[in-house]
């Protein structure tokens, strides 16, 4: 199966471990005087966008950064909890760049690009250095050195963290670097702005149309290059752990203007989220994977057991992850833990009123930490109360904010009763297809962070999203963008009176007018809910041909209904969140169809993509390496019509094997 002629991943030659260092030393440069004349647009100010904008501005480029929130500090990276991986080997437990690379490829179920993942592992250590230098307050040991913890899918401790607020602290670090450049005048910040269209001139991306969300005015912005760092598209499911405003619009506009979309069906369902409590639910809240370090997951051994968890004796509990996967136990990767929870609940062993939940239990950890503290305090016959008290104090220090959040949402105290958890949509491995330089199939248009498809294959390991976002922004794009911009030094700024800008703005204005003038009877929110239900039922944790085929028809029908019956209140030229929402839902209604088409096309199970027709006798994902060792890159042709291009994945350094965590 040959790669398409239009898909050149531009992977440098040479041995794997030398590709990046050699390429970095030979990639063309732009001299400082020219950098001052080159303008770069960055969409999104999460970890990838803020770090890229700051780094490029430090290098001397003129940067314009855009975010839809009221401040760049609000980007959804802020909600990441557990940690960030780096191959520092500070714990002397056998970690290395190669091992991080290997774990990531294996964790991704052999559907990621070797060269990209190795580069990610190589720069992972630099990220920690950079963040510490910025004043990011990572957790430390009493000796003053950095602390680490374990995460799923690995057997070393390589995760750096700041309580359960690692994303917040890393983002505030990147945000401070961004604000510093804003203060110096090298970055112009456009908050409360939504990117509505990309502008292509002579085959190259030359700017964007943005909407000022306060005034509703459309604005034209020129850039020699445009970087999309607008995050993932998990909100296509309506209920997800994403923020309410997280959307696919920037990436989708890029896709419709020629950027191929890679592996759209690869979505991550996170195993430990707070279960749905009712029809009013607007979003789901994650409980960090780090909780699986110390918590034990179980269900009753008896079906439909309605006893309180504390009344179920130890020998009547099924610690099903420890039973099925003794080598990794509760720390199996996310896709595996999620499917195992679904399997138990579908079989009738679920808990709670909805029966769609399993227990995450901290009693054993509280007891273990309590004994350890007693020893530290030189108490040899501690009372049971003291053990519990000390144990709870340790758990509070490690996970306090998460426990508080659980209590606030559910009204139950997780220090006393086990948490109830269930899988929820969390992250999208798919995204805009990019080459080794992070450039999409449109020259001058790049995608960074969760918005691209590149490093996580079919399943992302915990604590790797923060790593990838910051790697792309701090340490990859500042080098690789030179390959393109070194040829653009003779391009003067194109006036935004150019007809391509005029046309693009008109198309955006027309679409807004159409939305406002449908004047139907149903709110955008209702359409979003209905789309989400189709996606979750038929393109969620388990998929099959029949379901996907019917989902495609249902989505098409829903889209027609949307354009005939949506009711968007308010006007175009004002602050209008309903209009913002309608515009985003319209894009999700197109993306959902492509996700189902991709899931239908991939006749195998791998990572988070589980086709019921393709499983082992034990119910594990069954890959088909002979026919599907490729990236699906979809080209938009017209409505409901996409062309498939295949980027063959070549494994020169890792032997492909069935993924086993037993």
């Amino acid at each position: 199966m040959a790669g398409s002629s239009r898909l050149d991943a531009k992977i440098p030659s040479g041995p794997l471990e030398k590709k990046w260092s050699q390429y970095r030393s030979t990639v063309p440069l732009v001299n400082p005087a020219n950098k001052r004349r080159i303008e770069i647009i960055v969409i999104g100010t999460g970890l990838a966008g803020a770090s890229a904008a700051a780094s490029l501005a430090e290098m001397g480029y003129k940067v314009k950064a855009f975010c839809f929130q009221d401040s760049p500090r609000r980007a959804h990276s802020i909600a990441a909890q557990g940690g960030i991986n780096a191959a520092k080997n500070y714990q002397n437990d056998g970690d290395s760049v190669y091992r991080l690379f290997y774990d990531t490829i294996k964790g991704g179920d052999y559907r990621a690009r070797e060269a990209n993942v190795h580069r990610l592992a190589e720069v992972s250590g630099n990220i920690i250095d950079q963040c510490v230098a910025q004043g990011v307050p990572f957790a430390r040991e009493y000796g003053g050195l950095l602390s680490n913890r374990s995460f799923g899918g690995t057997q070393v401790q390589r995760t750096f963290y700041a309580a359960g607020q690692t994303g917040q602290q890393l983002l505030l670090g990147a945000y401070s670097a961004l604000e510093r450049q804003i203060g110096m005048g090298t970055i112009t910040m456009y908050n409360r702005h939504e990117m509505m269209e990309v502008v292509i001139i002579d085959g190259k991306c030359r700017g964007i149309i943005a909407r000022n969300l306060i005034t509703g005015e459309l604005e034209r912005h020129f850039g020699h290059a445009v970087l999309i760092a607008s995050g993932g598209y998990g909100n296509v499911f309506y209920l997800s752990t994403n923020a309410m405003g997280s959307n696919v619009t920037a990436a989708w506009k890029a896709h419709k203007k020629g950027a191929f979309f890679g592996n759209p069906c690869f979505t991550q369902i996170h195993p430990t989220c707070i279960p749905v409590s009712g029809d009013h639910q607007s979003k789901l809240t994650l409980m960090s994977e780090s909780l699986r370090n110390d918590g034990r997951i179980w269900v009753p051994k008896k079906k439909d057991d309605n006893r309180a968890p504390g009344d179920i004796p130890e020998d009547e509990r099924d610690y099903y992850l420890e039973r099925r996967y003794p080598a990794f136990g509760n720390l199996v990767p996310r896709d595996i833990a999620s499917r195992a929870a679904k399997e138990r609940c579908d079989a009738g062993y679920g808990v709670g009123t909805s029966k769609l939940a399993v227990y995450l239990d901290y009693a054993a950890a509280i007891d273990r930490y309590g004994h350890a503290e007693a020893n530290k305090n030189n108490v040899h016959n501690p009372s049971k109360e003291d053990i519990v008290k000390w144990g709870k104090a340790v758990v509070k220090e490690k996970y306090g904010n998460l426990f508080d959040m659980y209590k606030q949402i559910t009204g139950e105290d997780p220090y006393e009763v086990p948490m109830r958890i269930y899988p929820a949509v969390h992250y999208t491995m798919g995204g805009l297809w990019v080459d080794y330089n992070l450039m999409t199939t449109v020259p001058g248009l790049y995608a960074l962070g969760e918005a691209n498809f590149s490093d996580h294959g079919a399943n992302r390991l915990g604590a790797s999203a923060l790593m990838q976002g910051l790697a792309d922004g701090y340490f990859v794009i500042p080098y690789t963008i030179g390959a393109y911009l070194s040829n653009e030094i003779r391009t003067p700024a194109i006036p935004t009176t150019h007809e391509a800008f005029v046309e693009a703005e008109k198309s955006v204005a027309d679409r807004i007018n159409t939305l406002l003038n449908v004047k139907g009877s149903t709110s955008p929110e209702m359409f979003h809910r209905r789309l989400g239900k189709i996606m979750w039922d038929k393109c969620g944790m388990a998929r099959n041909r029949q379901g996907l085929e019917s989902a495609i028809q249902e989505i098409r029908a829903l889209r027609r209904e949307f354009w005939n019956d949506v009711r968007v209140m308010g006007e175009a030229k004002e602050f209008n969140p309903e209009l913002d929402k309608a515009s985003r839902v319209a894009d999700f209604l197109e993306l959902g169809e492509l996700m189902c088409i991709d899931a239908l096309n991939r006749e195998e199970s791998c990572g988070g993509h589980f086709r019921e027709e393709h499983q082992t006798e034990e119910g594990e994902a069954l890959r088909d390496d002979e026919h599907f060792t490729f990236v699906s890159a979809w080209e938009y042709i017209k409505e409901s019509d996409w062309g498939l291009h295949k980027e063959e994945l070549v494994y020169e350094n890792i032997k492909i094997a069935q993924r086993s965590y037993k």
């Binding site: 770090s51 430090e58 609000r74 500070y90 957790a139 003053g144 809240t285 606030q408 009204g411 209140m569």
Partner: protein, 250 residues
Amino acid sequence: MNLTLKVWRQKNSQSEGYFETHQLTGISPDMSFLEMFDVLNEKLVEENKEPVAFDHDCREGICGMCSMYINGRPHGPLEGVTTCQLHMRSFSDGDTIVVEPWRATAFPVIKDLVVERSSFDRIIAAGGFVSVNTGNAQDANNIPIPKDDADDAFAAAACIGCGACVAACKNASAMLFVSAKVSQLALLPQGQAERTIRAEKMVAQMDEEGFGSCTNTGACSAECPKEISLENIARLNREYLGAKLSSKSV
């Protein structure tokens, strides 16, 4: 639950605002406060009326986007909780709830319950950073940091920049916000080089934005959803005084 909601409506920053009363029925105690607003807005759209604009994003208490005075208190009645994490079980059937936008000169109203908080960004841009370009860093473990200092810095860094401190203060002072960032960086070795200039510049920008003065009442810390300590304000005062005594720049 059945509730009476009195909500502030204001078309834009130029127009005058007013309270609008709505009756809500069948509210579940398991709903979050913002999900109750979703129900209200859905109802308004059905009635062909414009929904209430309010800021929100992550809905898990960390992005700092949600705001609102609820019955006169920023983020509502509970301690250490943002509006998005407040649930209706904290209210009783038949309650009347009054909801308003933040009130402060430096936070002008954009629409309904939405305010403009870019003044906070400009304060950070004035000095809330360590000047270290990408690629300049040494190995992360080269400088050990005592755990207590790191923990204190982290506690200050937990600020989500929501503006509740300003909203709670009778003078609309931003001292708690500014002091949290100044403290975080003053407590860490990486922040030492710019320690004095940072305090001076951030305070100067705070004053320029039109925030009020601090009179050590402590309402800011009491209402802060992240429970940022008043000690930070004491530390900022020390930092600022020290900076002014040795100042060459301002």
